[in-house]
Symmetry: C2
Subunit: 208 residues, 2 copies
Amino acid sequence: MVNKSKTIDTGTETKILRAAKEIFHVYGFQGARMQQIADKAGINKALLHYYFRDKKKLFNAVFTDAINKFFPPLLELVSEKNVSLFDKIRKFVDYQIQMLKDNTYIASFIVNEFNQNPDKAVKLFSHEGKYLPKVFIDQVTDAKKKGLIIDIEPFELIINIVSLNVFPILNKQIMKSMFSMSENKYNKFLDSRKKTAAEFIIRSIRKK
Amino acid sequence: MVNKSKTIDTGTETKILRAAKEIFHVYGFQGARMQQIADKAGINKALLHYYFRDKKKLFNAVFTDAINKFFPPLLELVSEKNVSLFDKIRKFVDYQIQMLKDNTYIASFIVNEFNQNPDKAVKLFSHEGKYLPKVFIDQVTDAKKKGLIIDIEPFELIINIVSLNVFPILNKQIMKSMFSMSENKYNKFLDSRKKTAAEFIIRSIRKK
DNA sequence: GTCTATAGCGAGATAGAC
DNA sequence: GTCTATCTCGCTATAGAC
């Protein structure tokens, strides 16, 4: 906001953003307190306002970051040519799970913000257009024609993939308590899922 | 809280609960305003406190309701004997999607509350114990031995089923904007999913 | 850039009349 | 049971010194 990554980065802005991600992630926009964020960043409230003007602007900085980390790389991955459908699925699952593991705040952030603010979703998705790149649709259609996969709508396939990837991360706490997993065990579970989830999907669509 | 469904139901308490479900669902605990709930219920703030004492207690009434509608019926369904594994999966998917469709507030409610209050999840799940009933585990083990299904952990199977069911409901707004669905089209999508999701799962685990 | 002190308001909760 | 009026407090945001 202030530093354009040009002037010397005192680290304050970075510290604020890091703290804000965590606090907003856990408590949501309304539940988060500027005081908490300031405490976690090791500064005081006034400085938050100095850097980000108000709470909403700070939130949007984090939200934008989440959106940019989430959608574009996936879209690019799905749009790739010269990658077989099955390999694309494997790469997609692997990438998405790892990314959400590294940025735990992203999933709940996006889900909650769009639920509370549907207009935001409409705006974001309407002007960009294609969430199912033609390359991908063609690829699925082609695989169907060749008898490689069963009959499934491309958008339904994507929904299933994302569901299997995101849900266990969105529900980390429930997963951990229901199946008595420690933090370590949970992380291993997610790692193993990069393979099991991808294969679960491929088995389902592949024609034998 | 006041009526034990014994005395004459003036309807006020019901109206409050109905309004509270919707408002809490959309805005979360912190974001919800007692005034909003009162307005939606067609009463005034003071009456909310008369019936439910404070905001947290009103929230918990709705939360308890969500938990009770969500877990016990599913647990029972999974525990049934004399139902084949595949039929059980079909019934599970059908029931869960319909139930979440009828009670749109439930999914986001549970997810958010447990994320913000992990202890609640620990308490709820620790004393009850079994979320994977022995019947079900045996059934999966048995199916594996008989060569009917591939090798998969029972808990992983459940996670996959629930992921596919809940995710598209949790993300209703995103689904609608991403794939340009009207409310009507979205509902039809969910209905069709009762079959497509179940078959997606069964195809994946069935040995041919 | 960073701090302390405080203004100002919104929202939960209560008092008390009917 | 239901209402209006009001208390009280916590939180965002700003003023202003250093």
